[in-house]
């Protein structure tokens, strides 16, 4: 199959998935009648008659008196045009889209740092664990990856906080930055930095290296925690697939050719062993996003996840529903991109 045909097919498959995704969120909203939908679009700042007026307007706009499937299309239209309703949480109150633009960058920066750590560490660890099967090193890697895989991610966070934060005081573990450093800056207000909303980058833009360094230190613990939680799974898959690949005929042939063992491992075996890891990219991204919810809560890091849990605590529909939808969309599109990249790497996928 031609590559473009594969990509086209992959995009076409996306359509039912997207419909299903939105449908599911819509069904969730409707499980309790129209209340949740109304609550999501009701501006929390309104009171009295203005609120009543908006309620009526919303009933009109979403055709709430019509059959449910019609309501879905009006709701979908609303979502597509970018109007996601309102949120009212202790950390932010206002339109969902603004909330996302403020919180998403922070989640992205943690996820990116975590991904870098994952890719730098998990491949060599997984490979060397498989190659030195049953050695002390293998046992160590296996048991620690088992443990990390088994632990709920918030416990990894707490363990790191106790170890690095409480006992050794080497790293900060709460919030995005030391509040004292940013209290007087004109580009940082109410916990939000400008223009990109990513403190680390904004600080660099404004040339404030002290703040940038501090922001960087604050990112380390959350991203390391996230990385540790997800790495464990990757190491396990990689080790298993590496062990399987090492038994394959083509590895035997590579050895029979007299190719040095280092090349056999690092080229012949590793490239094949990484394929199942690449297929599980989707899970990795899902893990990153799901983990971010917990991590940001534990570290009080103002990302989408933190916002979600804050929304949960005050029963804010807008926050919960929008983040469910948002995470879904992010995941669906990243898997799409990763699948296409994967097709570029593996010659067999295109048949």
């Amino acid at each position: 199959m031609k590559l473009w045909a594969y990509i086209l097919r992959r995009i076409l498959i996306l359509i039912p998935t997207l419909i299903g995704l939105t449908l599911m969120v819509f069904v969730i909203i409707h499980l309790q009648g129209n209340n949740l939908l109304l609550a999501q679009y009701l501006n929390p700042r309104l009171t009295g008659p203005a609120k009543q007026q908006q309620l009526e307007a919303l009933t009109e706009r979403f055709h709430l008196n019509d059959p449910v499937y019609i309501q879905y299309f009006y709701w979908l239209q609303q979502i597509i045009t970018g109007d996601w309703g309102y949120t009212n949480t202790p950390i932010y109150s206002g339109s969902v889209t603004t909330a996302i633009s403020l919180f998403l960058p922070n989640t992205i920066i943690i996820a990116v740092f975590a991904s870098i750590i994952i890719w730098l560490l998990s491949i060599p660890l997984g490979v060397s664990s498989a190659v030195n099967r049953d050695s002390i090193r293998d046992h160590l890697i296996r048991v620690s990856s088992f443990t990390l895989y088994a632990m709920p991610i918030y416990l990894i966070a707490i363990a790191l906080i106790i170890l690095l934060g409480v006992y050794f005081h080497v790293l900060p573990f709460s919030g995005p930055v030391n509040p004292l450093l940013v209290s007087n800056l004109d580009w940082y207000k109410n916990g939000i930095s400008y223009p990109t909303h990513i403190l680390l980058i904004d600080a660099l833009i404004h040339g404030n290296l002290t703040v940038a360094w501090d922001a960087f230190l604050h990112v380390i613990m959350p991203s390391v925690t996230l990385a540790l939680g997800i790495m464990a799974g990757i190491i396990r898959i990689l080790r298993a697939s590496m062990l399987e690949v090492l038994e394959q005929d083509y590895i035997r042939l590579a050895r029979a050719k007299g190719v040095p063992e280092k090349i056999v491992i690092n080229l012949h075996a590793r490239r094949n062993a990484l394929l199942p890891v690449a297929t599980s990219f989707g899970y990795t991204v899902a893990g990153l996003l799901g983990g971010a919810v917990v991590i940001e809560t534990v570290f009080n890091y103002p990302g989408i996840g933190y916002w979600t849990t804050q929304a949960l605590l005050v029963n804010d529909v807008g926050g919960i529903m929008s983040s469910t939808l948002l995470f879904g969309l992010i995941l669906v599109f990243t898997t799409l991109i990763l699948d296409i990249l994967y097709a570029l790497i593996d010659p067999r996928i295109r048949y």
Binding site: Q32, A286, V294, L313
Partner: protein
């Protein structure tokens, strides 16, 4: 030749046991797992034997609410509101293990049912199920559980339902792929040629052959689901009150992490050790069903 048959090699069940017990870490895992199960059973049927009156509620001691370090009186110390940690953890194991067992097994049953049917029947049914599970895989499960649970109302029942809804697609995919590979084997065709009906083939041939790997998966997932369960209560999904639950216990201790780290460490360890144990056990079980391991 007959003689060789008499001097019979280790076969079947005995071989399985030999393989499992030759994996030391798996045996340790099994022992820990059994300890948790026994604790949960005792707590369910004879809580008084463990010195607990009401296994469903934490026994607060308002006389000294600040967490105390481990002492002969409180072997693992106490946590906020003066709860004895050892007792609380023993209570919590019943709740966590019971509910995660319920979630995993129901998820597995639903998933296996759909998985077998969709892979065996193929066609549009399969296609639709594939798309449906795609959607479930399209949202991080923690977030989905949050969303579903929230919409159903923040109670423990809705949390369980939410987790089952999140969990069955995993089993659907897994049994589907297992069934597809079993379907390739010619004994299925042989059964068809012998006149066995499709329903019977699914029940008599496919289901028993998917069972062992699914059981292994269940044992591995017990730990994962317990972790998610604890995570959800930890981030405050449930208005917990005095529910003895490991995630809740950790969050109770978290406020005192600087002065009383044990209040966080012990409940955390209780989860970690369990999850590690089922993983080790599952790994050993996987060796047992792995034909390559069997023959080596």
């Amino acid at each position: 030749m007959e003689k060789r048959m008499e001097a019979k090699e280790i076969e079947g069940l005995r071989l399985s046991l030999v393989i499992f017990f030759s994996n030391k870490t798996a045996v340790v895992g099994l022992m820990i797992f059994m300890a948790y199960v026994i604790d949960a059973l005792l707590m369910q049927f004879a809580p008084s034997m463990l010195g607990v009156n009401n296994p469903n509620a934490l026994a607060f001691d308002y006389s000294n609410t600040i967490p105390q370090p481990p002492s002969p009186e409180h072997i693992l110390g106490t946590t906020y509101f003066g709860v004895d940690l050892l007792q609380a953890i023993m209570q919590a194991i019943r709740i966590d293990l019971g509910y995660s067992g319920l979630i995993v097994i129901s998820g597995a049953l639903i998933g296996a049912l759909f998985g077998i049917i969709s892979a065996y029947a193929g066609g549009w049914f399969d296609e639709i199920l594939m798309r449906i599970t795609d959607i479930f895989f399209g949202i991080p499960y923690l977030v989905l559980a949050l969303g579903v649970g929230f919409a159903l109302g923040r109670t423990i029942e809705s949390m369980i339902i939410a987790l089952i809804i999140v969990w069955w697609p995993l089993y659907e995919r897994y049994t589907r792929s297992l069934t597809l590979s079993i379907k390739e084997q010619t004994f299925i065709e042989a059964a068809k040629a012998s006149g066995v009906s499709d329903l019977k083939i699914m029940i008599k041939h496919i289901f028993p052959n998917t069972l062992p790997p699914v059981l292994v998966q269940i044992s591995l997932d017990l730990g994962v689901v317990m972790a998610i369960f604890a995570t959800l209560t930890f981030i405050g999904f449930l208005p917990t009150g005095n529910l003895p639950e490991l995630g809740y216990l950790t969050s109770l201790g978290l406020n005192y992490i600087q002065i009383a780290p044990w209040a966080t460490i012990f409940p955390g360890l209780a989860i970690t050790i369990f999850a590690l144990a089922v993983n080790l056990m599952g790994d050993g079980l996987r060796d047992v069903i792995d034909p390559r391991r069997r023959s080596s």
